[in-house]
Amino acid sequence: MTADTMSARLDWYRTMVRIRIFEDKVQELFMAGQIQGTTHLCQGQEAVSVGAIAAMRPGDVQTNTYRGHGEALALGMDPEVAFAELMGRSKGGSGGVGGSMHLIDFSKGNIGANAIVGAGLPIAVGAAVAFQMQGKPNVALSFFGDGATNIGTFHEALNMAAVWAAPVVFIITNNLYGEYSPLRTTTPIDDLARRADPYGFPGIVVDGQDIEAVHAATTEAVERARAGKGPSLLEMKTYRYRGHSRSDPAKYRPDGELEAWKARDPIEILAKALIAAGDLGPNDPVEIRNETQAEIDQAAERAATSPFPTLEETRPYVYAD
């Protein structure tokens, strides 16, 4: 492994840990009432966000969902800015008016976190077609869930992307549930990658717990798009450790399912690989965890010191001139 790829993997590791601890902190702050409304956490899915986004290059963009904290942090959003947004403070990425479902940062290619299932897909296709028209070498990614593959925009977006050979990569974060519904109760097939076939472009099943696999598959799809060969659909098989949102206890999950998935924790898997390769010392994981915990705790504290915006402050967010 080259020093480069090694440091890249160490970055991946640190980022996954950051996301994990960030999300745990969000849950804590939500229970404490410092974050209100709702939260949709992504513990367990970190390899998908980090591995796929590592395949992006400057100028590339992506859209994600209300469960988008992983993508936002993987794209480099400052945890303090993210916490501030979740707390509704001025310092938040959207000035505090967006909240947990809308961590957005255009400067980092995060052009949308949508609270409407399926709405992000056509937007990503639009950005991709624009790049094509502008002669730019850029690509758009769209992250969405398994449940989103049942809504019309999924079909409409994939069809348009195919017709226009748009440089877009559709990434299904298949965590086996749409809210409280197991995939199979709302979807007649198991492998959602199959849903690429009617559009004539590749659909690939990927082990979403293995960041190496996620990164390799996404890189191939991204470079394919960049080369003008059109879209791809990637199905990342993964799992969300927590309930769907807020304080959902996820009673609908069969006994042992959570444990089975935790046995293949994406952070652990990469740690093992890095340790085996000698790129990570046996105590590094604990140290990194502690450092990150401190970083996250401080970020949350600083965020809480930011004031709530005034209505006047938010008026310019409505119309541009």
Partner: protein
């Protein structure tokens, strides 16, 4: 067809119980499904753990997964499915988790449900009820907080109704389910925990607003969450010797203009309290129709609405700030009566 009528209510008829708004909706669903095997409930996770807002507790155990049917995420599609069911003898109730998702089903709601009977020259009825959960105060942000109550009130062929209390939620939902026409039934997510008396087995009259408090100085018209704020304001106003008449509008289509007119003819004053932008809403419609009707305003009508040019913010402090408050209602009513 349900056997329920106002004249001869079915089930545990007439029994009065104290229920929460959530329980009242649950009771209306339960009683309607018990009374008529063609009634079913469908939507995202309606059968999972009592549904997202726990309004459906116990129903799947009683009526099974066919009649309490979880759907894939596809509002436009499953409202179309409900329409199709209604054409061949079923009476579907569709749950829309957040009213903000209604536009996702825009075609089904605008071009299909209200026009289907008409396009056929009256060959069919379309007994579909859509339960939409709307409203702010939940910190759900700009895509999950609209009441959406006036979005479809201009559509001939549709009925639109809003529930402000446990009692009205029960009676209005029974009326909606029992009706032969497509009806949009709006719930407010900020009201689920409210408790109040419910008369089992009796459906409300279609198109009838409710005068919740009589008064001769000023008329306050509200819907959904704003009704309890209007009542609280009336209480305070009474303490200062101002008698406010509070009307729960309930139906936006058909709109009960006669009830509002009768009240304003008495008071000469009107305060609209609406959890929506004023433009193109029921409040503007009422003021316009009364004015066209030549009503005598003792003082110009007033309104408390959401800001004209601002979406609903997530920011907790701002979400509270943009909603009409009890204090604002009191102050506005005082200006209206001039003391």
């Amino acid at each position: 067809m349900s056997t329920l009528t106002d004249a001869a209510p079915a089930g545990a008829s007439g029994a009065v119980t104290d229920l929460t708004y959530r329980e009242a909706i649950n009771a209306a669903l339960d009683d309607a499904m018990a009374a008529d095997s063609s009634v079913l409930l469908m939507g995202e996770d309606v059968a999972a753990d009592g549904g997202v807002f726990k309004t459906n507790i116990g129903l799947v155990e009683k009526y099974g997964l066919a009649r309490v049917r979880n759907t894939p995420i596809c509002e436009n599609g499953f409202i179309g499915v409900a329409l199709g069911m209604s054409l061949v003898g079923m009476r579907p109730i569709v749950e829309i988790m957040f009213a903000d998702f209604l536009p996702t089903a825009g075609d089904a709601i605008v071009n299909q449900l209200p026009k289907y009977r008409y396009m056929s020259g009256g060959q069919t009825a379309v007994p579909v009820t859509i339960r939409a959960v709307g409203g702010a105060t939940g910190r759900f942000g700009t895509q999950h907080s609209a009441t959406g109550e006036s979005w479809f009130m201009h559509l001939p062929g549709l009925r639109v109704v809003t529930a402000s209390s446990p009692g009205s939620a029960y009676a209005l939902l029974r009326a909606a389910i029992n009706d032969q026409n497509p009806t949009l039934f709006y719930e407010h997510k900020g009201l689920y925990a409210r408790k109040g008396p419910v008369v089992r087995g009796v459906a409300a009259h279609i198109g009838a607003a409710a005068v919740l408090r009589a008064g001769s100085d000023v008329t306050i018209v509200a819907t959904l969450l704003m009704v309890e704020r209007a009542l609280a304001a009336a209480e305070k106003l009474a303490a200062d010797g101002i008698a406010a008449e509070v009307i729960d509008l309930r139906w936006l289509r058909p709109l009960d203009l006669p009830a509002v007119r009768a009240s304003v003819e008495k008071t000469g004053r009107l305060v609209i309290v609406e959890e929506q932008v004023h433009a193109a809403g029921w409040g503007a419609t009422i003021i316009s129709e009364l004015t066209i009707g030549g009503i005598r305003w003792a003082s110009p009508p007033r309104r408390l609405s959401l800001p004209d040019d601002l979406p609903i913010p997530y920011t907790p402090t701002l979400e509270d700030e943009v909603l009409p408050s009890v204090e604002a209602i009191v102050a506005t009513a005082r200006v209206s009566v001039g003391r």
